[in-house]
Each structure stands twice: as structure tokens, then as C-alpha cells.
């Protein structure tokens, strides 16, 4: 069965510090992975997808099949990055989400 794990429920960093949100998955097929973000009082929205290898708002995520990980990274965190982040694994039309990590960036 597919599973997504985000080991940190809460993560707190200072502005300008690097940040890494961890995501591990288990899936027997070829994974399609995404990061979603939910800012305070806003709807859940797609942040980035592994297939496009892009950087969005300074965030990147690399799929590591050997370690079955898809960690989200940003070299210099900003206060506006404070939000709930979810890692998600796609199978067919369905998404399996991790538990979420609440990121707080302190001034």
C-alpha cells in the first residue's frame, strides 16, 4: 500500500535560515510526488511537482528513489513561508497525503 510520512509536525526556523521539510514515501510503482501548501485562511494549493524540477517561491524538492524521499528545501526562509505543508503521492486520480508539517518562520 502507498504511504506518505512527514516526520515533523512542527518546524520553527528564523528568517534567513535554511529550511528542509521531510517527506518519505512507500510505493511499489513509479512515484509522482507533489508538495501542497496552505497559508493561513487560504485554500490548499499546489506548490510544486517533482516531474517539472522547478523552483517555486525559492523552494525545490528532489525525488530520491533510493531513499524514497522527496524533501522540500529553501536556502533562506522568509516570514511569508509560514504555512502548513503537505507532501502527496499520486496514484491514478487519487492523492495520498502525509500528515503535514506546520512551518513557522520567526523574525
Amino acid at each position: 500500500a502507498q504511504r506518505v510520512t512527514q516526520p515533523e509536525k512542527l518546524l520553527s526556523v528564523f528568517k534567513g535560515a535554511p529550511v528542509e521539510l521531510k517527506c518519505n514515501y512507500s510505493y511499489s510503482g513509479s512515484p509522482e510526488l507533489f508538495w501542497y501548501v496552505q497559508y493561513s485562511r487560504q485554500r490548499l494549493q499546489l506548490l510544486l511537482r517533482h516531474i517539472s524540477r522547478e523552483s517555486i517561491k525559492g523552494f525545490t524538492a528532489d525525488l530520491n528513489k533510493g531513499e524514497t524521499s522527496f524533501h522540500l528545501k529553501k536556502p533562506f526562509a522568509q516570514e511569508e513561508d509560514s504555512a502548513m505543508y503537505y507532501c502527496a503521492l499520486k496514484r491514478g486520480s487519487r492523492l495520498t497525503f502525509g500528515e503535514g508539517t506546520q512551518l513557522t518562520v520567526n523574525p
Binding site: 512527514q6 485554500r43 486520480s93 487519487r94 500528515e99
Partner: protein
């Protein structure tokens, strides 16, 4: 831009009541989904529908049912509400025509349901 609209932002109901949560999307999407979002548990899929009148159970369907009579509308029904169904409920949709790996699902604002 895709619009997924949930009929209520906040809802308060009593134990034993039959509760309807409504969701409408305006992009002619084939797939629609209902999740509940709980702290520490993430999003869990309750039900989804891949076509009108078609439905499939998600990971936590117990205590819920769904209805999809029209393509744009997907309803979640709590047959007899209980306090453990107090939660944030999110609706989402996705299409087949767009490349699904680019934008897997679009979400609504959510309905915060409290069962007293």
C-alpha cells in the same frame, strides 16, 4: 482559473442530524473528491467520484455517503452526525483533459463542521 466552491464555510449541527455538504466546480472536471482534514492526520480521502452517478470509497468512508447527480456537483452526506465527525472538510476536483501530473487536484476553501 478553476473554481471549486463549497456551500458553507462554517456549519454547526447536532448529534444524530442528517448533514449535507455541497461542492460545485466550474471546470467540467470528471473527478471530484471529499477529504477531511485533522491536525496530525493530514488529509484523508472519504469518497471520490470519477463520473456522474459513479463513486468509490476512499480510506475512511464509514459514516458517510455521497451523491453525484450532475457533473459539476458532489455532495457529502453524514447520515447521522456524530461528534467524532467534527472536522474540516475539503472538496477537490481534477480533470482528464489537462495533464493530470501538472495540476493533480484543485481544492475548495473547506467547510468547518462542528457536531454538538
Amino acid at each position: 482559473d478553476v473554481k471549486v466552491t463549497q456551500s458553507s464555510r462554517y456549519l454547526v449541527k447536532r448529534t444524530g442530524e442528517k448533514v449535507f455538504l455541497e461542492c460545485v466546480q466550474d471546470m467540467d472536471h470528471e473527478n471530484m473528491f471529499w477529504y477531511r482534514q485533522d491536525p496530525g492526520l493530514g488529509l484523508r480521502l472519504i469518497y471520490f467520484s470519477y463520473d456522474v452517478k459513479m463513486k468509490e470509497k476512499g480510506d475512511i468512508p464509514e459514516g458517510y455517503s455521497v451523491s453525484r447527480e450532475k457533473k459539476e456537483r458532489f455532495s457529502l452526506i453524514l447520515e447521522s452526525a456524530s461528534t467524532n465527525q467534527t472536522s474540516m472538510y475539503l472538496c477537490a476536483s481534477s480533470g482528464l483533459r489537462e495533464r493530470s501530473i501538472n495540476q493533480p487536484q484543485h481544492f475548495g476553501d473547506g467547510t468547518r463542521l462542528s457536531i454538538l
